[in-house]
């Protein structure tokens, strides 16, 4: 305080000076630093009057606040001497936030990590996340399994995955020794299985992500191709005059249509026209792979007799040879973004696409009517038997269709009423099952069987509609946009998990990221060129990652935790081992189908 005293001496002397020089009473301001000494001024409207204040902070609290404020200025942060002890600081529910001008309000009560989402929002979010592109393969899956079997399998798989999801949610709460509020499922796996658990869960999660990205690439090439074709047909070909090309929606007899030069069939490598369904109401359904008996729809041999323009277009716009590469130029830059939060704004497109698909399917079903016949074991020309041995293909697809186990904990964490978690989960699963059933059954049932065989149902059911169909064009556009916005998000997730665990840094350098993206994109392009069967890709990747996350880990963790608590009983053990066996069988059988 030495300088305090010297200051005061200074001031007193200057006081004397003022006496001798009775200038203006400018005690407060030197004209030179007028700006620095302006009074602190609060707008009158901001001053709370004593009378009408809603809630004033108590004097005691104000005093304590000032005290703590002051003491904190006196010592370094490392010094514990002047930190308020617990018995002095008020309890959290007594804490107020108040402005220096007088008004005060109480903080919202803070419960750990729980969010504000109502049940409805949570259910919607779970439904939205689960609705993936596997919805396009469900009708094919039903076809592979047989109608009745298919429906039963869907319901049973729904129940099974629901139970496993319930186990996942409960697994976190069964760890009582540690604080698990911020844990996700891989953390639980690591707790039980050590670093093997962490690495394996990472690996399987990557399998599902990369599988999804490959499927996306195939589908995107498909949709882009069809969209381009549609636009080309709608606009470009009108210029080609005299061949009188119209879409095969007119009542032209098929025979003559095939002979007209031009795009008689943007139906690939088919020149027998009786596979073209041509009702008068312009709702064609096609069977793309009829001519080649199940070969994948990857080559396009469209016959253009005289039209070089169309031929050129055909050469440069090929579903499996060129379009996948065009996508590279479009999507690879997007993949390299550090943070894809921009893309998450487009989440709504997913919901819109699904809803539109539902509408589309309903519309088509109404137009086409139902064509169902029940033959139990023997395939007929147009129908498939009700029970087929290829039903594991459906289970493989459904494992991925019902897969949400690696992020269900996060989704449920934000539920406002945590006690309703199980109920909301069941409702969400029920809605998802209903949606899948609805689309699968409707597409299967309304597939026009007398002219076309049920076997024609494609792995992507939109492929059964020609490129020229307007409604499916709209569906393809929606899905294309939606996938283009989800693809970078998936890439980001894969990058975070892979690079984060290998290098410890989610963006080590542009070089690493570029290499990873090239690998992923390369895989996608390769599949799009040589094996664009999304049904196949979905069932393999679904069964693989479902093996870990859906079947093995939840059951195993449950068995282990029960064993640690000495509550393991024989029925439970047998039941959960049975689930594990089912999962393993699911995967192995895929390779034999």
């Amino acid at each position: 305080m030495a300088n305090m005293n010297s200051d005061s001496r200074h001031l007193l002397i200057s006081e004397v000076d003022h006496e001798r020089d009775p200038g203006p009473m400018n005690i407060q301001f030197e004209s030179s630093d007028l700006r620095s000494k302006r009074p602190f001024y609060i707008e009158p409207t901001n001053i709370v009057s004593v009378n009408h204040v809603i809630q004033r902070v108590s004097d005691h609290a104000s005093a304590m606040n000032k005290r703590i404020h002051y003491y904190s200025r006196l010592s370094t942060p490392a010094d514990k001497a002047l930190i308020a002890p617990d018995h002095v600081v008020p309890a959290p529910e007594e804490c107020y936030v108040y402005s220096p001008l007088g008004s005060a309000y109480k903080l919202q009560s803070y419960t750990e990590g729980y969010g504000k989402n109502t049940s409805l929002v949570t259910i919607f979010m779970i439904w939205n996340t689960m609705m993936g592109t596997s919805i396009l393969s469900i009708p094919w899956g039903i076809k592979q399994a047989g109608f009745t079997t298919g429906m039963c399998v869907i319901i049973l798989m729904g129940l099974l995955t629901l139970y496993c999801c319930y186990r996942v949610v409960k697994s976190r709460t069964m760890i009582s020794s540690l604080d698990t509020t911020t844990w996700e499922y891989p953390d639980v796996c690591r707790h039980y299985f050590g670093s093997f658990g962490q690495w394996s869960s990472l690996l399987f999660s990557l399998v599902s992500l990369i599988g999804a990205m490959i499927v996306y690439w195939v589908l995107m090439s498909n949709f882009l191709f069809n969209t381009g074709k549609f636009i080309f047909i709608e606009t470009g070909f009108r210029h080609v005059g005299q061949t009188g090309l119209k879409l095969l929606t007119s009542s032209d007899p098929p025979a003559s249509a095939s002979q007209s030069a031009g795009i008689t069939d943007f139906i690939h490598h088919i020149n027998d026209t009786d596979t073209i369904l041509n009702p008068n109401n312009s709702n064609p359904v096609i069977c793309p792979s009829a001519g080649s008996g199940g070969h994948p729809d990857n080559s396009s041999m469209i016959f253009y007799a005289n039209d070089t323009g169309a031929q050129q277009f055909e050469k440069w716009w090929d579903k499996s040879r060129t379009v996948p590469f065009y996508l590279v130029g479009l999507l690879l830059p997007l993949l390299n973004f550090k943070s894809p939060s921009f893309f998450s704004k487009f989440n709504i497109l997913g919901t819109v696409s699904v809803l539109y698909l539902i509408f589309l399917v309903t519309f088509k079903a109404v137009r086409l009517g139902f064509h169902l016949e029940f033959h139990w074991f023997i395939p007929t020309e147009f129908f498939v038997p009700e029970i087929r041995l290829q039903f594991p293909q459906l289970t493989g697809v459904l494992t991925l269709a019902f897969f949400i186990h690696n992020c269900i904990i996060t989704l449920l964490k934000n539920n406002k009423k945590q006690e309703n978690n199980v109920r909301d989960l069941c409702i969400a699963y029920m809605l998802v099952t209903l949606t899948y059933l609805y689309i699968g059954v409707l597409v299967f049932a309304s597939f026009p069987s007398p002219p076309l065989s049920k076997d024609c149902i494609e792995q992507n059911f939109l492929d059964n509609f020609p490129s020229s169909d307007t409604l499916s064009f709209i569906a393809r556009i929606f899905l294309l946009f939606q996938m283009m916005t989800v693809y970078p998000l998936l890439g980001y997730l894969a990058r975070v998990q892979l690079l984060g665990h290998i290098f410890g840094d989610i963006y080590p350098s542009i070089f690493h990221v570029l290499v990873l993206n090239l690998i992923i994109v390369g895989a996608g392009v390769t599949m799009a060129c040589f094996y664009p069967n999304i049904g196949g890709i979905i069932r393999y990747s679904g069964a693989a990652c479902g093996l870990a996350f859906v079947f093995i880990y939840p059951s195993l963790i449950y068995i282990i935790s029960l064993h640690q608590e000495e509550r393991l009983t024989w029925p439970k053990l047998i039941f959960h081992v049975f689930i594990i066996i089912l999962g393993v069988a699911n995967l192995t059988v895929q390779f034999f189908m």
Binding site: E15, M25, Q28, P44, A63, L74
Partner: protein, 339 residues
């Protein structure tokens, strides 16, 4: 040369002997003029924190240390004009400390104006505490028998609220008994409520020279300038020395202004500036905080907003001279203005 002192119209007769204007000037050694305030207590009883809080200076070191706080004689902490605060740890485990203490005892306890002894209420070695306290009292008796003794029972927040009065009464009785023939005043304190402040305010009140005349004149001053409230603060610590109010005020925690201003002073010193004065004005009142005498600050609260600031400030300025003379009357040792 010194101006002859004049009696002013409204001042009372000073208590001490009137110094003669013709007393020959003596050059007095610097140390003899400074009187000490000893802040003593066991290691870890909270003295450094207390000093830091009261005097608004930063705790420079970790309070948990192996050695004791050894403050040099020429401490920087001064208050009430020429009083110097010295901080000593009493009865540490350190043998070095013990020896130093014993050998320097006379030096430490000479010229002591005030002894403030801090007891930790949580201490488990009551006997030892009392033993050290008594040895300090002996030293005081030998070297500065006129010193005032204050005992602070500190860290009372660690005691259950319903037991505080009981425990304090017990301690007070013990201390009174042990202090005889010296008189000690006991306070219970905690840095987490207003008791610390009140204890130190009482201590400072007893140390201000001529505090009663100051209070009387303060009241007159307040009535003359039509102020609602006038407070007198000690300069270094902003402890309230004296307080006049014409009507009952709502705010029980009025002392908190001390913390607020000290915090503001800290901010000022960070900018290499020093706090001088403050005016707060709104439609309901105007408050002025300004330097008053060499030992004090004054805060004037006027609830008539129509009175211009300049008028009040002139009044304060004029009153300053009178109050300064009041303080000076009691002898040179309490004033900085020698000429």
């Amino acid at each position: 040369c010194r101006r002859p002192l004049q009696a002013l119209p409204f001042e009372k007769e000073p208590a001490g002997p009137q110094p003669s204007p013709w007393r020959p000037r003596r050059v007095m050694p610097n140390t003899a003029m400074k009187k000490k305030v000893l802040l003593m207590g066991k290691s870890g009883s909270g003295k450094t924190s207390m000093r830091s809080i009261i005097f608004a200076n930063y705790i420079a070191r970790d309070t948990r240390r192996l050695g004791a706080t050894i403050d040099v004689e020429h401490s920087h902490v001064r208050f009430l004009g020429n009083l110097v605060l010295n901080l000593w740890d009493c009865g540490g485990q350190d043998t070095f400390m013990e020896n130093y203490f014993t050998s320097q005892r006379d030096n430490i306890f000479r010229n002591v104006e005030v002894l403030i002894y801090v007891f930790d209420v949580e201490s488990h070695e009551l006997e030892k505490d009392m033993h050290y306290y008594q040895s300090c009292l002996e030293a005081i008796l030998q070297n500065s028998p006129d010193a005032k003794i204050f005992c602070l029972v500190h860290k009372m927040d660690l005691v259950q609220e319903d037991q505080r009065d009981l425990i304090f009464k017990e301690r007070e009785e013990d201390l009174r008994r042990l202090s005889r023939p010296l008189e000690c005043a006991c306070f219970r304190t905690s840095i987490w409520d207003e008791t610390l402040y009140k204890a130190w305010s009482s201590i400072v009140y007893q140390l201000i020279p001529n505090v009663q005349p100051l209070e009387m004149n303060l009241r007159n001053f307040a009535q003359i300038i039509e102020a609602d409230e006038v407070l007198l603060f000690e300069r270094a610590t902003f402890l309230v020395i004296s307080h006049y109010q014409c009507k009952e005020q709502r705010d029980v925690h009025r002392f908190e202004i001390s913390n607020i201003i000290k915090q503001f002073k800290l901010s000022c010193s960070k900018l290499a500036a020093s706090f001088q004065s403050m005016e707060v004005r709104n439609s309901n009142f105007a408050a002025f905080i300004d330097i008053f005498t060499s030992n004090t600050y004054v805060m004037v609260v006027i609830s008539d907003p129509s009175i211009p600031s300049a008028a009040t400030l002139i009044n304060i300025r004029n009153a300053r001279k009178h109050f300064e003379k009041l303080e000076r009357v009691d002898g040179p040792k309490h004033s900085l203005l020698m000429r």
